[in-house]
Symmetry: C2
Subunit: 221 residues, 2 copies
């Protein structure tokens, strides 16, 4: 943290992750209103609340680093706003698939990046990425919906492709815009770093993991 370039990169990493959690909270809360029952609304609201508590941990770390939430997170506002505007679910099932796919791609992405940073940051990042059991709830609901009406599978598979396409496109935009973040990922100032061949393998793994999860949902990737 004594290296100003590394510190800037870590603040960008925390800012991107924190805003992702806050944006996920807002989207899951809104999507909860699409649920067919109040119990299901509450289930999605509960997932939103888990995201907010993750946001709080990032906010606390930023406060320790003497950086305001707005200074750290505002640079990522446009990317998340564009992602969510382009992937607003129009049904409860689309909302569930988005909650699962979006959360898991983000988890994979930040977990891969975290190998390039110091241990304290890595522990924080992995702790806020912990699954809180929502995956099981979603997989069960989506599989049951497909079993009740197999015709929904085609539309949801298309939806999953759109989600991953938008997520990767916004991730690339962030990587291109945020030099300090890109630098710690690639050169690993202060951490082990990652060369470009490794970065390419990261994206391959993200795509493979996504395909595996779509299959878990009963959908083709």
């Amino acid at each position: 943290m004594d290296d100003p370039e590394y510190r800037a990169g870590i603040i960008e990493l925390l800012g991107a992750l924190g805003l992702g959690e806050l944006a996920a909270f807002q989207r899951l809360s809104a999507d909860s209103e699409l649920a067919p029952t109040l119990a299901d609304q509450a289930a999605l609201a509960g997932m939103a609340v888990v995201e907010f508590h993750h946001f709080e941990r990032i906010r606390d770390r930023l406060a320790e680093l003497d950086v305001s939430v707005d200074d750290a997170m505002a640079p990522f506002h446009d990317a998340y706003a564009a992602f969510h505007a382009n992937t607003a679910p129009s049904t409860w099932l689309e909302g569930l698939v988005k909650a699962y796919v979006g959360d898991q791609i983000a988890t994979d992405f930040y977990r891969e990046i975290s190998v390039a940073v110091d241990e304290d940051t890595r522990l924080l990042v992995t702790s806020v990425l912990e699954d809180s059991g929502q995956a099981d709830f979603i997989v069960e609901h989506v599989r049951r919906a497909i079993s009740d009406d197999p015709s929904v599978a085609g539309r949801l598979a298309l939806w999953g492709r759109r989600l991953v396409g938008e997520a990767l496109s916004q991730a690339q935009r962030v990587a291109a815009d945020r030099d300090a973040l890109a630098t710690i990922i690639v050169s690993g100032a202060g951490g082990p770093g990652m060369d470009l061949a490794e970065l390419s393998r990261v994206f391959t793994r993200l795509t493979e993991n996504h395909a595996r999860r779509m299959s878990t949902l009963g959908l083709s990737a």
Copy 2:
């Protein structure tokens, strides 16, 4: 709880309160997006999360009573949906005033009702109505906004009157529709109960407390 009529009334009370907390969660989450800064967004989101945790306590009690969330809460959906549809804030300040005024009227209302019920239920009701410090945040922001631009006070005062009018109108609708709830409030089966003169004093106190809070915000009631 052995008296089926009393039990039905308590389930209606918990259903009304629980749906209020879930609806407040959803509205505060949505309203957080009106905030001028990400830190302010997070502050309103944090208030939403407090409401959700209150909802969870009501859900747990309903589970103990072997009643589903939907059975207990669905009867109150229309009243809350109408209240929130008629009082959707169009600015951040309106959102703050609504969060404060709406939450406090609901708190007063349920706290007044809770004198008519058994001690276990009363302890649960008062615990989920505990203020979590959000009032100070809101009062400070609203007063500062009025000090920066005194012309907002007139519009916000009108807004406060609309909020209390809608809240009382929906509360009357619920009281007229839900016999079991009205019965425990008035006749207090299993609890001390409340006569009609007392009920009328409750509404007088609600209105007086509202006027006092508007004045705390720097607004005329």
